[in-house]
C-alpha cells in the first residue's frame, strides 16, 4: 500500500508540474462557473415570473432548481475532461520509459494501478473542491439542504471515480496520450448514452442495459437519495475497470 501511496502522491504533484493539469483545472472551473452563473440567472428569472402565482412558487426550491442541476452539469463537464486527466497516466510513462522504474521497483502491478488511480482521483478531488465557492453562493443566497449538497458531491466523486477507472484502462493499452484520450472518451460516452438503447432492446436486454447505464444510477444521488444499488453499481464498475487495468499491466510483463 505504501508503494501505491508513493505513486499517488507523485501523480498528484505531476498534474501541477505540467501545463495539462492546469489547463484541465482551469477549463473545468471556468465551464462550471459559467453553467452555474447561467443557472442562477435562470433561477432568478423564473422566480420573478412565478412570483405572480403564489401557489407555484411553493414548488420552486434551490435543491431541485439549483443544486441538483449544478451536479448534473458537473457530471457532463467531467465526462469531457476526465479522459484528459487520465490519458497520460500509463501511456506517457510507457512512452518515456519511466514505467521501467515502476516495473523494477519492489511494488506490485496492482499497487502501480492503484497508485495511478488514487493520484488521478486526488487531482479530480482538487477539481471538485474548486466548485465549492459556487455552492457557498447558494448557501449565502438561499437555504439548500446540506444533505443534498453532500450527496451531490458524493455522486460527482463516484462518477469521477468511474470515469477515471475507464480512462486508466484506455491509457494502459497505448503509448499515445491522444489515443488514450479518444478511446477513453468514446468508452465513457458509450456508458453515458447506454440508456438510449434500452427501449428498443426488448424487456430483458433493455433491463440489463438500463442497469449498466451511468445516468440511471446518478439521478437518485444528485437528488440526495442514497440507494445501496447505486453505490454498489459504482463500486463494482470501478473495481471491474481497475481489475482489467491491473491484468493489462501484469500481462505486459509476459506478452
Amino acid at each position: 500500500m505504501s508503494g501505491a501511496l508513493t505513486i499517488a502522491r507523485r501523480e498528484v504533484g505531476a498534474y501541477f508540474q505540467t501545463p495539462v493539469g492546469w489547463v484541465v483545472l482551469t477549463a473545468f472551473l471556468v465551464l462550471n462557473g459559467f453553467f452555474f452563473s447561467t443557472m442562477i440567472g435562470l433561477y432568478h428569472y423564473e422566480s420573478l415570473q412565478l412570483a405572480a402565482s403564489p401557489w407555484t412558487t411553493q414548488e420552486m426550491n434551490v435543491n431541485d432548481y439549483l443544486v441538483a442541476p449544478f451536479f448534473a452539469n458537473t457530471g457532463v463537464i467531467l465526462l469531457f475532461l476526465c479522459p484528459a486527466v487520465t490519458m497520460r497516466l500509463l501511456a506517457e510513462d510507457r512512452r518515456s520509459g519511466a514505467f521501467e522504474l515502476l516495473l523494477t521497483s519492489p511494488v506490485s502491478s496492482a499497487a502501480i494501478v492503484l497508485g495511478k488511480y488514487l493520484g488521478a482521483m486526488g487531482f479530480v478531488s482538487v477539481m471538485l473542491a474548486g466548485t465549492m465557492p459556487c455552492l457557498g453562493i447558494v448557501f449565502w443566497l438561499g437555504d439548500p439542504d446540506p444533505g443534498v449538497v453532500a450527496a451531490g458531491y458524493l455522486a460527482s466523486w463516484l462518477l469521477s471515480g468511474a470515469f477515471v477507472s475507464v480512462g486508466l484502462l484506455a491509457s494502459a493499452f497505448t503509448r499515445s496520450q491522444v489515443i488514450a484520450l479518444v478511446v477513453g472518451f468514446a468508452l465513457l460516452l458509450l456508458f453515458w448514452v447506454l440508456t438510449w438503447a434500452d427501449p428498443s432492446s426488448g424487456e430483458g436486454v433493455g433491463a440489463i442495459i438500463a442497469s449498466l447505464s451511468m445516468l440511471n444510477h446518478l439521478e437518485n444521488l444528485t437528488r440526495g437519495l442514497l440507494h445501496v444499488e447505486d453505490l454498489v453499481y459504482y463500486a463494482s464498475f470501478i473495481s471491474f475497470f481497475l481489475f482489467a487495468t491491473w491484468q493489462r499491466v501484469e500481462s505486459g510483463r509476459w506478452a
Binding site: 508503494g3 505531476a14 518515456s96 520509459g97 516495473l103 519492489p106 511494488v107 510483463r253
Partner: protein, 296 residues
C-alpha cells in the same frame, strides 16, 4: 550472486533469448556483449524484474526472480538503455521518489549519498528535462543506486553520449565496481568492456556464444591469422610456433604463447605470405563470435 539457467524468452514466434545460462560471482564486473537485437536488453529486463521469461530460472542473491520479485528488486539497481525519468521533476525529488518506491527507510541521507556518488549534488534542484543527456544518464544511475543495491544491471549506460561523457560514465562505473558491487554491463562498445570488466558474456541472436575472462576469450579465439598463396605444407611449418587451425583457402590461424609474429612471418614467406593479421584484440574475438566479421 547471479545464477541464470536455461533462460528463454519468446515474443510470439520470435525467440529473443534462447536457453541462456551463466553465473556471476559477488563483486564481479561482467560485460554483456552482443550486436543490437542480440537479446542483451531482454535478458537484463528479465533479471531486473521488468519482464517474465518463457522458460528457465534466474536467481539473484539466492532469490528467484519470478517467485520472489520484491526480494530481488530490493537488491538490484537497474538502469535501462533509456533512463526511466520523469522529466518534469527536479533531480532530488525524482531520486527521493525512487528511494521511497524501493522501500528506503531514511530517504534524505540515501538521496544525498546517491547524488554525491554520481556527482549531481550541484544540480539537485534542476528540472531533469533541462539537463544534458550525460547528466540525465547520471540521474538514471542515481535512481539505480539510491537503495544501495548489491547488484547493478546497466543496459548500455554510455549509449548516445559524446566521447567526454562516455569517459565520465565509464570512470563512474569503475568506481562503483570498486565498492564490491556485482555489476552486469551491456554494451556493444568493446573499449568499455576492456576498461571496466573482468569477464564477458557474448550473446548473438539470443544465444550465448561465449563466456570467459577477457584474457580467456582472447586466447581461445584470438591469435595470428595468415594468408599464404601456396598452402601445401604451410600448416606443418607454422605448427612449430603454436597451435594451427586451417581455415581453408590458404588461411591459417595460429595461437601462440607470446608475440611470435616475426617467426611466423619467416616461416610463411616460403609459401607466399600474402597477409598477416594479429587477431588478439577483443574486437576480433567479438566479430568472430557474433559472425559480424564479414560486415565489419
Amino acid at each position: 550472486m547471479i545464477e541464470v539457467d536455461g533462460l528463454t524468452r519468446r515474443y510470439g514466434a520470435t525467440v529473443a533469448v534462447r536457453d541462456v545460462s551463466f553465473t556471476v560471482g559477488r563483486g564481479e564486473v561482467v560485460g554483456f556483449l552482443g550486436p543490437n537485437g542480440a537479446g542483451k536488453s531482454t535478458t537484463m529486463r528479465i533479471l531486473a524484474g521488468a519482464l517474465g521469461a518463457t522458460a528457465g530460472t534466474a536467481r539473484i542473491a539466492g532469490h528467484d526472480v519470478f517467485e520472489a520479485p520484491a526480494e530481488v528488486k530490493r537488491r538490484v539497481g537497474y538502469l535501462p538503455e533509456r533512463p526511466p525519468l520523469y522529466e518534469a521533476m527536479c533531480v532530488s525529488d525524482y531520486v527521493a521518489f525512487a528511494a521511497k518506491l524501493k522501500g528506503v527507510a531514511d530517504i534524505a541521507p540515501a538521496v544525498d549519498r546517491a547524488l554525491s556518488v554520481v556527482d549531481l549534488t550541484d544540480v539537485r534542484h534542476r528540472v531533469i528535462g533541462h539537463l544534458s543527456k550525460g547528466f540525465r544518464q547520471r540521474v538514471g544511475l542515481a535512481q539505480a543506486l539510491v537503495h544501495d543495491p548489491e547488484v547493478l544491471i546497466l543496459d548500455e549506460p554510455t549509449s548516445g553520449l559524446d566521447p567526454a561523457q562516455r569517459v565520465e560514465i565509464r570512470s563512474l562505473i569503475r568506481d562503483l565496481a570498486a565498492s564490491d558491487r556485482t555489476v552486469i554491463l551491456s554494451t556493444h562498445v568493446l573499449a568499455e568492456v576492456e576498461s571496466v570488466c573482468q569477464r564477458a558474456i557474448i550473446i548473438d541472436n539470443g544465444v550465448m556464444v561465449a563466456e570467459d575472462t577477457l584474457e580467456g576469450l582472447r586466447s581461445a579465439t584470438g591469435g595470428v591469422e595468415l594468408v599464404v598463396a601456396r598452402p601445401d605444407s604451410a600448416g606443418a611449418a607454422l605448427a612449430e610456433h603454436g597451435e594451427v587451425e586451417d581455415l581453408g583457402d590458404g588461411r591459417f590461424r595460429v595461437r601462440t604463447d607470446g608475440d611470435k609474429r616475426e617467426q611466423l612471418a619467416a616461416s610463411a614467406v616460403p609459401f607466399g605470405l600474402l597477409e598477416l593479421t594479429n587477431r588478439a584484440g577483443l574486437e576480433d574475438v567479438y566479430l568472430r563470435l557474433t559472425g559480424d566479421e564479414a560486415q565489419a
